[in-house]
């Protein structure tokens, strides 16, 4: 097997659970939104929260998102999509050869990255506070307050009781008591791992098409894709191959049709292809 360039192998590692990354396949806890999912993925890989860690879990993030897609309402998914888009942008930018930060698109991307990073760190900070609150609550629940009936001799002195709630608020109190207590977060996501969108796999698919045909338009390369994320994965795969000088792009005019030519060795193979 050909040794793949470092960047491509990093992508492949993130995308495909090889034998070594199997140990990372700890079942995720139920997650509370995109930042929580990101943090969990990063922590599974025992990485520090950095920009690098961010996009190295892009594929896993997207695979979770995809698996959630149909059941979730738009309101819940929107933030996931925003985060996913930023992650993909970042990852794509990294794969481009010597990306300079001169044009506006690059600057915008850097801004988006910083914002995502800041939001992630902020969320993590609050999550740590939530952890502290959990400890405090547990501790406080072990101290029982004195809450006994007033001795009879003082009862007559009590001022008129103030309930202090409107009927609507009172109903909310009742509802909050009746509402089923939150079950321990044990929703299994194990079933999600079978349906990943793997950039490495899509890279391999592009490679096969191009080796067979010599060249293809981007539209042709994404013919079999059924969801947007697969298209995105193909696009990233293409960048992968471009970075490795396995393909050449031909685009006569901006926004014109993109034709991709295979320029690499026919034996060129991705790590994913071997696994």
């Amino acid at each position: 097997m050909t040794v793949a360039p470092a960047a491509a192998s990093a992508v492949a590692d993130a995308a495909v659970p090889g034998p070594t990354s199997k140990s990372f396949r700890i079942q995720l806890d139920n997650f509370e939104g995109p930042f929580d999912l990101l943090l969990q993925l990063i922590s599974q890989h025992r990485m520090d929260v950095t920009e690098v860690a961010l996009h190295s879990v892009t594929d896993e993030f997207i695979s979770h998102l995809r698996a959630l897609g149909n059941d979730w309402d738009l309101g819940q998914v929107t933030e996931f999509l925003v985060v996913a888009a930023t992650l993909l942008d970042l990852k794509a930018a990294r794969l481009l050869p010597d990306a300079d930060v001169e044009d506006e698109a690059d600057l915008a991307l850097l801004e988006a990255r910083d914002l995502l990073f800041a939001r992630l760190l902020a969320y993590r900070a609050y999550q740590q506070v939530a952890g502290l609150f959990r400890e405090l609550e547990a501790s406080a629940l072990r101290r029982y307050p004195r809450a006994v009936t007033l001795e009879a001799r003082y009862l007559g002195l009590l001022p008129e009781v103030t309930i202090g709630l409107s009927p609507a608020a009172f109903a909310e109190v009742a509802a909050s008591v009746f509402r089923p207590k939150p079950p321990p977060p044990t929703v299994s996501l194990a079933h999600l791992h079978s349906s990943q969108v793997s950039v490495a796999e899509h890279t391999a698919a592009i490679r096969e098409i191009l080796i067979a045909r010599g060249s293809a338009t981007f539209a042709e390369l994404i013919l079999g894709c059924t969801v947007t994320l697969e298209v995105v994965a193909r696009f990233l795969g293409l960048l992968n191959l471009y970075r490795d000088a396995a393909v050449l792009f031909d685009q006569p005019e901006p926004l014109g049709e993109l034709v991709v030519h295979w320029s690499g060795d026919a034996a060129w193979t991705t790590p994913a292809g071997s696994g």
Binding site: L39, Q40, I42, S43, R46, D48, V49, R124, A125, Q127, Q128, V129, G131, L132, E135, L136, S139, R142, Y144, R146, A147, V148, T149, L150, E151, R153, Y154, L155, L157, L158, P159, E160, V161, T162, I163, G164, L165, P167, A168, F170, A171, E172, V173, A174, A175, S176, V177, F178, R179, P180, K181
Partner: protein, 214 residues
């Protein structure tokens, strides 16, 4: 490799104040028997006495702490004497075969003044929640309220009754437990003319079909 895993790293935001005792192990770990150390016996008795709403028997205390009744009785008497000598505001008294903390007579004027001051016009959170359960599920037994709220409600029920917001209304046919309902005074304080004016819970609890089974 830096391992600053956000989720587990609660250490980064731990409180510095020693008052919070987050790290305190504080587990007697003999939960089954609740056997109390000899040195901790007095403290255990105080803790029990602090939370009981009705006089508690020496027998019940003895069982909980894992000491003999005689020993418990001696400790309680000694404690009562110590409080009296220290001129504590807490009066440990034996009444009708049980022990309970009361305010010492000499401080009754201060307590009266405090109660009159209106600090206690508001219901505690626990009382409010129990009142809500009763209002929407009446007539309802104490056990049922406790089941819904997940905590002991004896003191709270008594307080609500003492404040005129609820009243007893017979016994449950099955369990024989006392049934409670809200009073006219409750409606008055809520500004309602009848119980039917209470907002329906249905829209707030769409996911629950049969709350009665809770």
């Amino acid at each position: 490799m830096v391992r600053r895993r956000g989720l587990d790293d609660a250490g980064g935001v731990r409180m510095s104040s020693g008052d919070v005792e987050v790290n305190e192990p504080a587990d007697t770990s003999n939960d089954d028997t609740s056997i109390v150390d000899e040195a901790e016996l007095v403290g255990a008795l105080e803790a029990i006495l602090l939370v009981v709403d009705t006089p508690v028997t020496e027998e019940a205390i003895a069982t909980a702490v894992g000491f003999g009744i005689e020993r418990v009785r001696l400790e309680l008497q000694a404690m009562a004497n110590r409080y009296a000598e220290a001129r504590s505001g807490i009066h440990l008294r034996e009444i009708g075969g049980g022990w309970r903390f009361y305010t010492r007579d000499r401080f009754a004027p201060v307590v009266e003044r405090f109660v009159l001051d209106g600090q206690q016009s508001r219901l505690s959170r626990a009382a409010l929640e129990s009142l809500a359960v009763i209002a929407y599920r009446q007539p309802v037994t104490r056990a049922r309220i406790a089941a819904v709220r997940g905590v002991n409600v004896d003191g709270v029920i008594r307080t609500l009754a003492a404040r005129g917001l609820i009243e007893e209304v017979g016994h449950d046919a099955e369990t024989g437990g006392l049934l409670y309902r809200t009073t006219e005074y409750f409606l008055e304080r809520m500004g309602l003319t009848s119980l039917e004016d209470l907002p329906a819970l249905g829209p707030l609890l769409p996911e629950i079909d049969a709350i009665d089974d809770v």
